[in-house]
Amino acid sequence: MPGTILENLSGRKLSVLVTILVLSQLACFLVGLISPSPASTQSILATVCVDDKPQDDKLNHWFDLGCSKKIHLEREESTIGLDANNLVFAMQMPLHGQDYSSWQQNLVGELQIDVIYKEGQKLSNPMIELLLDARIAYSDKTKDGGRTPWKYYTHSQTKRFMDCIFNETFVKDGYPYDCTMVPLFELGSLFHDYYLLNLRLPYDKKKEINTGLGRVSDIYLHTIHMNGGFTKVWVSLKTVFFPIILAIMIWFWNRVHSLSRKPALLEYMLISLGGTLAFLDLPIEYFTLYFDMPYMLFLSDIRQGVFYAMLLSFWLVFTGEHMLIQETGEKNSLRKYWKHLSSVAVGCVSLLIFDLCERGVHLVNPFYSIWVTPLGTNLALTFVICAGLSAGIYFAFLCYMIWRVFKNISIKRSVLPSMTQARRLHYEGIIYRFCFLMFATLICAAVTICSFLLSQYVQGEKKYDENMDLELTSVIHTGVYGMWNVYICALLMLYAPSHKRWPSEPICAEGEEVEFSRLSNDTSTPNEISSLTSFVAKANIE
């Protein structure tokens, strides 16, 4: 029975392959160098417009920077006689005569409301409940360089909480409260060129609407969008990886099918892992250039989630299949792993529900937030904690299984000296290569975790005046993304079944590596795809 390519590949070929993989990995890091940071922000200060007729509340009446009546909130005399319903905070996106491009993918809006302390007017409650009436309009460029009139996009009345702290030791007139940011909206697509936000903070004493609000001096909208340059680099990476992974998958499946036996569980796992990676790599971002696809954020969450779920399940099954305790003649199936896999399933399903509740609802209402109601907060927390717990259980399981595999290996290793030299060399090679892949997985995981921590650190430490030409965050993103692609390509290639026939003549591969024939009493069951497992089964017999 043939083993996998990993065991039958000569040392030289293996090293060539590994070099190619490492080089493509390096290329992924280098590609990150030409890319700008993944996302940029633009802080937009609201222009305060006066709405003379707030009572006829029409959704097609928009206030932009050119509104006829503007006031400055810091000048008290200019606000005399005005009502909260008169004030419209207009934010036009983007600033500086620019226009959004579809390459910028999505837009997140975060409100900063500057509340000023005035002598004798302390906030009654530092936790301010806000009711925001937010409306978004869009406009496009016309061919003659003008703009189309504002058109209604979406609107909502939504509740938010803002926590304001005031340092009692510095109680001074005119000092700002230290208030938290208020997340406002999330647009899944940037299909139009210009967007306009009209924000109102209505006031109603009887219904207790916005009664806790203090003296507002400024309202900023911080918008975050993906950088077109980063999307271009990212999509190019996907465009390169997608056909490669597809080709490798086809090659892999052909190999499996050319065998006389049925595909083993691990082979099914590998092909589905390849499938989820291909799904993740599918560059559907190109379509956003021509179609309005507000579900892109949600879809990319789903794609990543499916991939991670598959990767985690694969690790479990992979370790389990190398458990070295061989039941005889029984075909392994996923059913055997239901206990282990249920932790992955529970975690992923709870994250999916959480995502549906937040980003799924954003498709209908971009202003929706699950965190504003106590019920929603509890629900969201339940799902997140549930996912966290299953992640913990999963890793406990995985570590336990890996520990058992290594324990078994070390037990079998002690039997090695009693074997003939040829067999011993052979099995030592297999163990070495198995450990090599474990090692590769560990390295990949460690690099991912370290780069994640590093990117957190880099962003946290980013000083204003720093003139660093290198954009570390995007290097990390492309590098890690490329790494997992390379990793799975390597898995598919190295764990594809080998065509070398056993028993065969000992092949002297350029005089370096001697591949030894199997033992004659090798009667392994077809479900064993690795000769390592067969070796252990035999060792048990011995």
Binding site: I34, P36, P38, A39, S40, T41, Q42, S43, I44, L45, T47, V50, L65, K69, I71, R75, E76, E77, T79, I80, L82, D83, A84, P94, L95, H96, Q98, V108, E110, D114, K118, G120, Q121, G174, Y175, P176, M181, L201, Y203, T211, L213, G214, H222, I224, N227, G228, G229, S300, D301, F354, E358, R359, Q456, G460, K462, Y464, D465, N467, D469, H477
Partner: protein
């Protein structure tokens, strides 16, 4: 090309040479001679009063620029900046007003109370005190320059100035061309490629160009003004606070983006007041450490052709990194040399007690003081020992105020008997 020669000469040569190199001699003559004789860079403060925006109908962009009275107070470089950046003058006017208000707030209890005069032409807004190298002057220079930086950055966020630049405006095109994408990068493509968000950087650079343009001499006072201008700007920059938002998968922190938050100007005013209280006295370093040339060469653009495009953008890189190349020596050699954010001065005025029309000092005659205070508004301090008289008045005050969003403060009217003291 003519334009380039003119500008270069303007920076290097004396005012007289400028006149010869120039075509429209008449207008320039007036500016050049006036600025040579008077308080140098401080002329532009006048636009604070000129650009008083109406309450409900702000001026249309560019209206201020056309105003001839404003025009007269500006130097040629300042006018060019205003021409190239629509909306800049309005922002600067707002900034100047902000500075005056803040200065008067900070000094409301001091002998010198930052009084301004409503003179647009001919005389300085703050009076001739700015011709002295005293701590108050240091404060004025620092706070006006800080306020202009702050105000321009704000105007950028509001969309009032359209020329504010993109964050990687200078670096990105080079990297971009290395990437062999082969397309020509324009400003708009820059935004698509890497976004725009560096408003404080623009404020800092334009403020430096605009405010510092008057201080071209080699004397200690000009060095002092430059240093204090820089101190104000640095303080604004150092008070920027970072805020971050996670927006990765399912809103997790796999992708996090940060931005800088502009500080409230009251905070800047307070910090500058602290710096004023701890201002460093400096002396002219005659042993050649006063590298006046360096300050000059820094201000020259490295690439003359770059001047044909927007002059602020071209000088950004070398400007931001290097400070002006001089070091001021502390008066007391045991003290540390002043840091970038420290205010410096080199002389003290005899006092602010008596009216001194020469320097525009009002004196403290008739100023209100506080008998019981232990601070600087104590009557003994404020009245310079001349004594004070006390009046008992019934003060009608607003009290127990409750604020109602947006624009209403409901207060009780309280009548209290109060003793008020005034200096003789």
């Amino acid at each position: 090309m003519m334009f380039v020669i003119r500008i270069t000469c303007f920076v290097i040569c004396t005012g007289v040479l400028v006149i010869f190199a120039n075509a429209n001699v008449g207008a320039e003559l007036a500016i050049a001679t006036r600025s040579k004789n008077r308080g140098k860079g401080s002329m532009w403060w006048g636009i604070a009063k000129a650009g008083e925006p109406n309450n409900l109908s702000p001026m249309s962009p560019g209206a201020l620029y056309m105003d001839t009275s404003v025009h007269g107070t500006l130097r040629r470089k300042q006018r060019r900046l205003a021409r190239e950046n629509t909306g800049l003058l309005e922002a600067i006017a707002k900034g100047a007003n902000l500075a005056i208000n803040e200065c008067q707030f900070q000094f409301r209890n001091l002998r010198w109370n930052c009084s301004t005069r409503n003179f647009l032409k001919g005389k300085n807004l703050f009076g001739k005190i700015v011709e002295k190298g005293c701590p108050e002057t240091a404060f004025i220079y620092a706070i006006t320059s800080a306020a202009v930086t702050h105000s321009i950055a704000r105007a950028c966020s509001e969309g009032a100035i359209e020329t504010c630049y993109c964050e990687k405006h200078y670096r990105r095109p080079q990297v971009f061309s290395n990437g062999n994408t082969g397309s020509v990068t324009t400003n708009v493509r820059d935004f698509e490629w890497g976004g725009c968000s560096d408003n404080i950087g623009f404020g800092f650079d334009v403020s430096r160009e605009f405010v510092d343009t008057g201080e071209r001499g080699k004397s200690l006072r000009e060095k002092m003004n430059l240093h204090n201008n820089e101190a104000g700007r640095s303080l604004v920059q150092s008070q920027m606070r970072q805020e971050c938002k996670c927006h990765g998968m399912s809103g997790s922190c796999t992708t996090r983006t940060c931005w800088m938050k502009l500080p409230n100007f009251r905070v800047i005013g307070d910090l500058l007041k602290d710096r004023y209280d701890a201002a460093t006295r400096v002396i002219a370093a005659n042993s050649g450490t006063l590298k006046s040339n360096k300050a000059h060469s820094n201000r020259l653009p490295k690439n003359p052709t770059a001047l044909m495009t927007n002059s602020i953008h071209t000088k950004r890189e070398n400007k931001r990194k290097h400070k002006y190349g001089f070091q001021l020596k502390p008066f007391n050699p045991e003290h540390k040399p002043p840091g970038v954010k420290d205010l410096v001065y080199y002389e003290m005025l005899p006092g602010f007690c008596e009216k001194n029309p020469k320097y525009g000092i009002q004196g403290t005659h008739g100023r209100q003081c506080n008998e019981t205070s232990e601070g600087v508004d104590n009557c003994d301090v404020m009245c310079c020992g001349r004594g004070f008289h006390s009046e008992e008045v019934v003060v009608v005050e607003r009290c127990n105020c409750i604020f109602h969003w947006c624009c209403e403060v409901k207060c009780d009217i309280c009548r209290t008997k109060k003793k008020v003291q005034y200096c003789f």
